[in-house]
Amino acid sequence: MSNDTNHHTDKHSGDVNYLNFEKGFMSWWMSIDHKRIGLMYLVSMIFFFAIGGLLALVVRTELMKRGQTIIDNDTYNMAFTLHGVIMIFLFIVPGVPATLGNFLLPLMIGAKDVAFPRLNRLSYWVYVFGSFFAFLAIYFKLDTGWTFYSPYSLRNAPAVMSATMAAFVLGFASILTGVNFLVTIHKMRAPGLTWDRLPLFVWATYATALLQVIATPIIGITLLLLFLENAFGIGVFRPDVGGDPVLFQHLFWFYSHPVVYIMILPAMGIVSEIIPVFSRKPIFGYKAIVWASVGIAAISFLVWGHHMFVSGMSDFVRYLFSFLTFFVAVPTAVKVFNWVATIYKGSVEFTSPMLYAMAFVFLFMIAGTTGIHLATLATDAHYHDTYFVVAHFHYTIQGGAVIGLYAGLHFWFPKIFGRMYNEKFAKIAFCLLFIGFNGTFLPQFVLGMMGMPRRYADYSTFSNVDTFEYLHFISTCFSYINALGYSLVLVNLGYGAVKGVKATANPYNSLGLEWQTPSPPPHDNFETIPVVTDWSYGYGEEYSDHDHNGNKKVVAKPA
């Protein structure tokens, strides 16, 4: 008897759900239940998030004062490299799809599991396997930055080979998830769940899965070429034998720009789910949000060159990429307007998921509008590779993707664990996190304007070092508050998962399909496959004489 198949033993006895229907480590490790896999991903990712976060604190502490303070240059270079590699490849790229996506996708489309549960489990195993290579890279003292730019990345072959192998293997996990989700969404929607009724989180996951399968193979071949360059010296990225380091950058960013949207699109999907529920209003402009998601996914493949404005591309290509980059701003702006319009004339409840969602809108506005500084050629010449960029992408990735993930974790927490966290504590933690985050990265915009280059272990030779030191000091102090906020969130959620008050099946009176099954859901999600008759955003429809297509309702008059 294999472990993944013996789940029907006591299906009908009282309080049995996916968390407790089997016990023991192997019942989790061997599980093909999408909910358990999502949870395992979540725990592993938070582990790496903590390591990456500690490395960030090391980096910030070193920069707090001028000169060498706690670590030497080489250690500093390793610290920021590993912070990037771990946060990107092990935390935020699998990110929302692997955790909440895995958990929610089948629940939201009324299916019993994803299309290929074993493939799903394989994806998690591959992820764990890939993470070992990342540790190997640490052992070999990887210090290239997470971007692995050649020819610097040809100087420490064992470290770079380990890191590229890690990213390559993790890419496989990403592709497997993407293929699985695409097929699941295409083939396994409950009867009546047409494309125009699909929840926006599912749409976002769909757009993300498309990006995963289209973009990830490119980083695969790129890192494979870099691996072989290090192993055999094939020459393609090695300028002294006629190879081209800029080619590496093209191939690298052809993936690594779309991957930003792999991170952010699901977070946008989460916000699109949360705001209607706590505003008791239909999402405003459903179709526009869907098209914006797909549009962002499409445009994201045409803009990678903005990472290379000063890398040595021809001038015409620089103009072209700048022009194209501006188009990303439009669908993202549309989404922001739609979220705000959803709140209008609603009935707003300030729960912690709602606070996170509103914080997301604010932080993402900052991320998006500072992106305009970087898309504009004249100003990018100054900002490129400075702290302005560092602050910008932390607003995008931490302020966007991570805050979005945390919004979703708080929102679906009662569904996942069947218990509630402490709401008051959650709000305190949120405030610390929010203040800490802004206090860390707003000064970095100023540092960037002043010309502070990124990846610098020290700034004591700068002419106006006092101002730089002052701003670095503020940034570091707030980074501790930020870290404290994250720790409190984890303590609160961890305690709530085990000891929290029991939650009902649908504590927010949400119309989403995932809330129409017990909390936590049973192993098979639904006793019977539900039949969907309407979209899941019909809040307040009972007060209106129109349905969501604008058609007048036919109301039977009382006789």
Binding site: M1, T5, N6, H7, H8, A111, K112, D113, A115, F116, P117, L119, I175, G178, V179, N180, L182, V183, H186, K187, M188, V213, I214, T216, P217, I218, G220, I221, T222, L224, L225, L228, E229, F232, G233, I234, G235, V236, V241, G242, G243, D244, L247, L251, D524
Partner: protein, 210 residues
């Protein structure tokens, strides 16, 4: 003991057989798209460097043994044909016949390996390594990744063969044979692009040059 153990492998408790079949095919097509992207990156690099080092690339392409390359193309095409016969037999529920065709496919794959090994060892014995020139770096990389795909294919087809031994396939269930067949054809198609690109373009380009 649980109910889906009694169903053929690949059928899950939450999917109707029809749905499972179409899902598996869709998944394989998406996966093949990712494979094309993987090789696409290498093709881009090849195109870029061929444009930059046009004469070098023509010169080195001329050193490849196009007769052996052509022979290997023939071998792979034949193996694809054998695979098609295997799929056809599986669809008719003829497990034994299917197994035979799968073995033919595997044998041809090993013939491909043999010829490839001759080519590699000849080049290496002449002192031509991946580091000799970017052309050779890309030649070894691209044919190497392709060979890796052949090796994976051999493993998968052998697994199918074991399933035919267990009489697993029937007129209503032959999904694995069909999707792995798709994979095998893609590996074949990629070679059909690699062969002219690496072996034949040299002659044409060089001719145009003089």
């Amino acid at each position: 003991m649980s109910h889906h153990e009694t169903l053929p492998a690949g059928h899950y408790h939450h999917l109707e057989p029809e749905q499972a079949y179409h899902s598996a095919k869709l998944a394989m097509w998406i996966f093949l798209a990712t494979e094309i992207h993987l090789f696409g990156g290498a093709f881009c690099a090849f195109a870029f460097f061929r444009w930059r080092y046009f004469d070098d690339f023509n010169h080195y392409a001329g050193q490849l043994n196009w007769q052996l390359g052509a022979l290997n193309t023939l071998v792979l095409l034949t193996s694809s044909w054998a695979m098609v016969r295997g799929v056809d037999a599986a669809q008719k529920g003829l497990n034994k016949l299917c197994g035979r065709w799968l073995i033919v496919t595997i044998i041809l794959a090993f013939v491909f390996f043999g010829i490839k090994a001759i080519e590699y060892s000849t080049k290496l014995s002449h002192g031509i390594y991946p580091s000799t020139h970017i052309f050779w770096g890309l030649y070894y990389t691209m044919t190497g990744i392709h060979a890796l795909h052949i090796a994976v294919g051999i493993g998968l087809i052998y697994w199918l063969y074991l399933l035919t031994k267990k009489e697993r396939f029937s007129t209503v269930y032959y999904t694995p044979v069909e999707v792995i067949g798709l994979y095998w054809h893609l590996v074949d198609v990629i070679w059909i692009f690699l062969f002219p690109l690496l072996y034949l373009l040299g002659g044409v380009g060089a001719g145009a040059h003089h």
